[in-house]
Symmetry: C2
Subunit: 391 residues, 2 copies
């Protein structure tokens, strides 16, 4: 047994997440650990809840981070809200919609799929037609920001349709929270989960979550116990709720220090400014990529500013492209997932990583590597275009 | 929205966990985040698996940390190994045995309880009698180190009985791993889970886990899908396994840096030396506590060295005792849980926190606070007794 301490290389993280973590968040995670029932810690938990309410734009009392990554946040929503036999309409336009469907099945529910082409937003009209055919559906689930394609759907419109058919909504906001508009209360969303490692500039491992009063009521009225003890919100709320804190599980203290700091940073910048910053650097990156002749996979009107899916150019081996960016430039961009593997690469500009330095560095590195891979590139044109877009 | 950065007080953590985190582990968690599919990170994952095999004393290929706290490790074992209708014998001698029973029920299994008094170890003879009455039982679940009482059970003997009745074993080693003897292969244990925040000197949030070939085979032969997508080991192994890594969930990168460093520290000290250190400081603390007239809840032969359950002295309000230790000495000790609330306090000497400084500081602080609470205390006697035990 003789391994040495691990000293990671310093990468620039421009994939689909984790994204670059803010140095203040990294520093926060190394502060001295205290107990999960320490009154000082409980005070910090209350601040996290209040700051998450701000980030989600909600007054929901049940707003907290699940002590595990985003996939566990997804599972928390389904395992608490879906009972065996329940019919759930799942909108699928990418990998994470498929994962939602899988969650419905694992809960013993029936999944009715509304399918849209990968890269397209979910079509509210199709959802409406499906709900008209399934008046006994209880829940509508959709992904606001499809991390696998970079397409964003109109969460407000989809929730409006769902409400007309008396359905609760489960919404994946893993890639949107903090990076592009999300207004839980104004849009009437019921159960929304996210991840710490995207637009919040935080390390991976936690899943912010918020549930409306309606959703909480549904959980209280369940006939069967929640299949998961660890994710049972009745129990989780005993620890995160407002009364005396009952031990449920041992919270990931230092990870929560990091999330707290990330949310303090968001408060300092202010939410709308963060959305605007993500949009601005997206436009700069886009101008640069287009100057290089690269094409977006998603049409303009449906693009997520924080996640840019780019078609792999003819004749370019995308695995080599990503490997060279990583090895020669310490720059990580993402591969395509599922049906899009090999066809697209995903360039994230998320959280702290959505900045001019990353835009210009990524464009310069892409120019060099693509040129080395024998794609005709007018070096410097991309950076000039990006500068122009920023001006 | 105006909250400030959180700067925790510097506590001495001598409760039932989290325990004091080693400074090298704290430092590791603030290293730059890299991607969860980065080849460098994948290399680090392999080292973690190898070091966990060492810590568990096993060759099991399926040995990895679950990306969530110990309760999720427990749930991983049950949700993967128990199918609806399965009969599981659960040994209950404290809070965590009860939680195991709850897990069986949530999985749709039938729980047959073998009950022992809280504070006593699980009785192998009772287990044997129960199994003789339930020849169709498929699994035996027990807690090796009951964190709620400080009692340890004979995992080897219990596993031997279980094997004679063709049962797999699920073993809670949350508080034992790294702190007191645990030999997974030699004792023939099948599914063993632990936590990062006890005797490994690491922050909370991860759950090391190991499964025998028999247990893996059982999962492969399941008739129904695993009810949890997030904890489905078939999928988790696609990411942590030895072949090409398939994305399952985003790993908690920085938390894993911390676990890696904690395991490097364990390798440097060597496992047997760590066990011996925990034992040595337990004896010192015990000598001091007894010199102070305090009494252990668990009989000598069944005590966990890393977790000392002490009877609250007549006339002492334990809530005030703990509050004063925390406020006046920044020293955290644990309350009693469940049926033992108000009756015992729990003093942990775990991981990095199992050292002479903590022993002496705890004894001195207890003397002062108990004296201030009007218990007759011969000040200094406890420290002298501890020194003597250490000599």
């Amino acid at each position: 047994m003789s391994f040495s301490s691990f000293n990671p290389p310093v990468r620039t993280l421009m994939g689909p997440g984790p994204s670059d973590v803010h140095p203040r968040v990294l520093a926060a995670m190394s502060r001295p650990t205290i107990g999960h029932l320490d009154p000082t810690f409980v005070g910090m938990m209350d601040e996290i809840k209040a700051m998450l309410q701000y980030a989600f734009q909600t007054q929901n009392a049940l707003t907290l981070p699940i002590s595990a990554p985003g996939s566990a946040g997804m599972e928390t929503c389904f395992v608490n809200l879906v009972e065996p036999g329940d019919k759930v309409v799942v909108c699928v336009n990418g990998v994470f919609g498929l994962r939602m469907k899988e969650n419905v099945l694992r809960c013993g529910g029936t999944a009715i799929v509304v399918e849209d082409k990968w890269g397209e937003p979910v079509d509210p009209a199709k959802l409406e037609a499906t709900l008209a055919n399934h008046p006994d559906a209880k829940i509508v689930a959709f992904v606001q920001a499809e991390t696998s394609t970079g397409a964003q759907s109109d969460a407000r419109a989809l929730a409006e349709v769902a409400r007309r058919f008396n359905c609760l909504t489960i919404v994946d906001a893993v890639t949107s929270l903090g990076g592009s508009p999300l207004r839980v209360d104004e849009w009437g969303l019921d159960a929304v989960y996210s991840g710490s490692q995207k637009c919040l500039s935080c390390a991976p491992g936690l899943s912010p979550l918020t549930l409306s009063e309606r959703a909480v009521q549904r959980i209280k009225e369940r006939k069967s116990p929640v299949a998961s003890w660890f994710l049972d919100l009745n129990l989780v709320m005993g620890y995160w709720g407002s009364g005396k804190r009952a031990y449920h599980h041992t919270a990931p203290i230092n990870a929560l220090y990091g999330l707290h700091e990330a949310l303090v940073l968001l408060g300092e910048e202010e939410l709308e400014n963060s959305w605007a910053r993500h949009h601005k650097h997206h436009l700069a990156l886009r101008a640069g990529l287009e100057a290089m002749g690269l094409k977006f996979y998603v049409r303009d009107s449906a693009r997520l500013p924080q996640l840019n899916a780019i078609m792999v150019p003819e004749g370019i081996n995308e695995e080599e492209l990503r490997r060279r960016l990583l090895e020669e430039y310490n720059l990580e961009i993402g591969a395509g997932l599922g049906a899009l593997a090999g066809k697209i690469v995903r360039i994230g500009l998320m959280g702290y990583g959505s900045n001019v330095k990353n835009v210009l560095y990524c464009l310069a590195a892409l120019e060099e590597v693509l040129a080395a891979m024998r794609m005709p590139v007018d070096k410097g044109a991309a950076e000039r275009a990006a500068h122009q877009a920023l001006a």
